[in-house]
C-alpha cells in the first residue's frame, strides 16, 4: 500500500517534470518508458537480459552470503584470526572494488566469470562484518547459561550465538543485495553481451533515454523486492526485537 502510494507520487512528479523539460534526450515521460519496456518485452530482449543478469547476480550473491557468514564466523571464533585477518579485510573493504572491474574483465574475460567475481567481492563484506558483529554481540548471560549446562563450543555456536546473530546477518544480506546490484551493472557496463547493465549501456549510446530509464526501473524493482523480502525475514527471525 505504502509502496503503491509512493510509486504514484514519483510518477506524478516525473510526469510534471516531463511537461517542463521538453528535451526528450534528457527526460521522457513515464508513458514513453512504459511503451519502450513493452517493445523490449515483445522482442524478447527483457527475457534475455534478465536471464543473464539474474543468473549471474543470484549465484554470486548466494556464494557471497555463504562465504561471508563462514569468514565472519571464523573471525568471531578466534581472537588471533580477528586481529590478523580483520585489518586486511577492512583494508580490502575500503578499496573501491568497482574500480577494478576493467581489470577483472581483462583477467576473466567477458561474461559470467568476471561478473561473478566482481559481485562476490562487493557483496561479501557486509556479511562478514554483520556475522562477526552479531556473534560477538550475543548476550553474555545466554552464553553462560549454555556453558552452565556443559555445552560444547559447537553447541554454544549452534544453540546460542548463531541464532542470535541471524537477524544481524539478514540485515547484512539486505545491504549486500543492494551492493550486488551495483556490482552486476558495473560489470555489465564494462564488458558483456547481455544483461541489464549491457542494455543500459547500449541504449545510452544510441540516446534511447526511454529504454535506459526502463531498465533502471527494472533494476530498482529488483532491489526493492529483495530489500522488502529481507526486511520481512529479519522481523520473522527476531520478533522479540520489534515488540
Amino acid at each position: 500500500m505504502r509502496i503503491a502510494l509512493s510509486t504514484l507520487c514519483i510518477l506524478l512528479v516525473w510526469q510534471l517534470l516531463a511537461l517542463v523539460v521538453t528535451n526528450r534526450l534528457l527526460l521522457v515521460p513515464p508513458a514513453d518508458v512504459a511503451s519502450a519496456l513493452m517493445k523490449e518485452l515483445k522482442a524478447g530482449a527483457i527475457a534475455t537480459n534478465a536471464l543473464a543478469t539474474v543468473t549471474a547476480v543470484v549465484t554470486s550473491f548466494i556464494v557471497s552470503v555463504v562465504l561471508g557468514v563462514a569468514i565472519g564466523s571464523a573471525l568471531a571464533s578466534s581472537r588471533l584470526l580477528s586481529l590478523t585477518g580483520g585489518p586486511v579485510l577492512s583494508a580490502l573493504n575500503s578499496v573501491p572494488i568497482i574500480a577494478l572491474a576493467p581489470l577483472f574483465i581483462a583477467w576473466l574475460g567477458l561474461g559470467f566469470a568476471s561478473k561473478f567475481v566482481l559481485v562476490l567481492l562487493v557483496a561479501v563484506f557486509p556479511e562478514v562484518v554483520t556475522t562477526e558483529a552479531g556473534l560477538r554481540a550475543t548476550d553474555k548471560p545466554l552464553i553462560e547459561a549454555a556453558q552452565s549446562f556443559n555445552a560444547t563450543r559447537f553447541q554454544v555456536f549452534t544453540n546460542v550465538t548463531f541464532p542470535f546473530a541471524l537477524p544481524f546477518i539478514v540485515s547484512g544480506i539486505r545491504v549486500a543485495w543492494a551492493r550486488a546490484l551495483v556490482g552486476i551493472v558495473v560489470a555489465e557496463f564494462f564488458g558483456s553481451f547481455a544483461g541489464f547493465g549491457y542494455a543500459i549501456m547500449s541504449a545510452s549510446q544510441t540516446f534511447d533515454t526511454a529504454k535506459v530509464l526502463g531498465y533502471v526501473i527494472l533494476l530498482g524493482a529488483m532491489g526493492l523486492i529483495g530489500s522488502a523480502a529481507f526486511a520481512t525475514l529479519e522481523r520473522r527471525l527476531a520478533p522479540w526485537k520489534f515488540e
Partner: protein
C-alpha cells in the same frame, strides 16, 4: 555426615593486565549439607556471584577447591544447575523448549526432553504457557522458566544468582513462597545469592554474611524458624530482629562499598 558441597580455601583474583588485579574472594570455607538451603548476603562487589560461578564450574578459583560429594569441581556438570538473573532465556525458543534446553544440550531424545520439561512446567506453575516466547511473559513468569530449566536437568545442587532481584516486591514474595514449596517437594540442596536480607532469612536454614571486596565469610547465622514457613513470619518480631542483626553486620560494608570506585 560428609557435606554435599565443600568449599575449601577458595580465593579468586581477576587479573586484567599486569598493573590491575581485583581480588574478588579471599579464603572462603563453607560446607553445605545435602538438602540444606543456604543463602549468601553481602554488599555489592563482595564476590558472591563469583563464588557461585566457581561452584558451578564456569570460573576457576585462583586457589582452593570446590568439592561436590567428594569430587573436585573443574567444569560445569549436571550435579549442579544455575538459575541466572533475568534474560538468560533464549528469546527464540518457547517456554517448553527453554525448560528442556539443558536436556537437549545433553543430547537427550526429543520425547524425553518434552516429557521432563512438561513435568517442571507443571511444577513451576507455567502450565498453559508452553508455547509462549520469553518476551511474551512477565518478569515473574520468566523467572519460573529459569527455575524450571535448572530443575529439569535434575541437579543435586541448585545455585540461584539473585533470581528475584529484577522483580517487583509483590511478585518477589510470591516467588519466594513458590521456591520454598519447590524446595520442599524436590529436596534439592540450594545455595542462593541475594541482596535482600529478609529474603535470605525467610528462605534459608543458614545465612552466610560476606564482607565487601575482597569477599570473605564474615559470619554464619543459623535460622531456626520452623518449617513449612508462611509469609506471615516476616512480620514476627524475632524475624525482624534477625534481619536487623544481619543488616548491622553488613551496613558498614555497604557504606564503604558506596564510596568505592571501580
Amino acid at each position: 555426615m560428609n557435606p554435599l558441597l565443600q568449599i575449601q580455601g577458595v580465593s579468586k583474583t581477576f587479573t586484567r593486565n599486569e598493573k590491575s588485579a581485583v581480588e574478588a574472594l579471599r579464603d572462603i570455607n563453607l560446607s553445605i549439607q545435602e538438602g540444606e538451603f543456604v543463602s549468601i548476603v553481602g554488599a555489592s562487589g563482595s564476590g558472591k556471584s563469583t563464588l557461585l560461578r566457581i561452584i558451578d564450574g564456569l570460573l576457576e578459583p585462583t586457589a582452593g577447591t570446590v568439592c561436590v560429594d567428594g569430587q573436585t569441581v573443574t567444569r560445569p556438570g549436571t550435579d549442579r544447575a544455575m538459575v541466572f538473573q533475568q534474560d538468560a532465556l533464549l528469546p527464540w525458543k518457547t517456554v517448553s523448549e527453554n525448560v528442556g534446553y539443558g536436556l537437549s544440550i545433553a543430547n537427550k531424545g526429543k520425547r524425553e526432553v518434552a516429557t521432563v520439561a512438561q513435568r517442571f512446567i507443571d511444577l513451576t506453575g507455567l502450565t498453559g504457557f508452553e508455547g509462549h516466547y520469553p518476551h511474551q511473559l512477565s518478569g515473574g513468569m520468566r523467572q519460573r522458566v529459569n527455575v524450571a530449566r535448572a530443575l529439569a536437568v535434575d541437579p543435586r545442587i541448585l545455585l540461584l544468582d539473585e533470581p528475584f532481584a529484577a522483580l517487583d516486591a509483590q511478585t518477589r514474595e510470591i516467588m519466594q513462597t513458590e521456591l520454598l514449596s519447590i524446595w520442599q517437594s524436590t529436596r534439592k540442596t540450594i545455595m542462593l545469592i541475594t541482596h535482600q536480607i529478609d529474603e535470605a532469612v525467610f528462605l534459608s536454614d543458614r545465612v552466610v554474611v560476606f564482607s565487601a571486596r575482597p569477599g570473605q565469610v564474615r559470619d554464619e547465622i543459623p535460622v531456626n524458624f520452623p518449617r513449612p514457613r508462611e509469609l506471615a513470619i516476616k512480620r514476627e518480631p524475632a524475624f525482624g530482629r534477625l534481619v536487623d542483626q544481619i543488616w548491622r553486620l553488613i551496613e558498614s560494608e555497604v557504606r564503604a562499598g558506596m564510596r568505592q570506585v571501580d
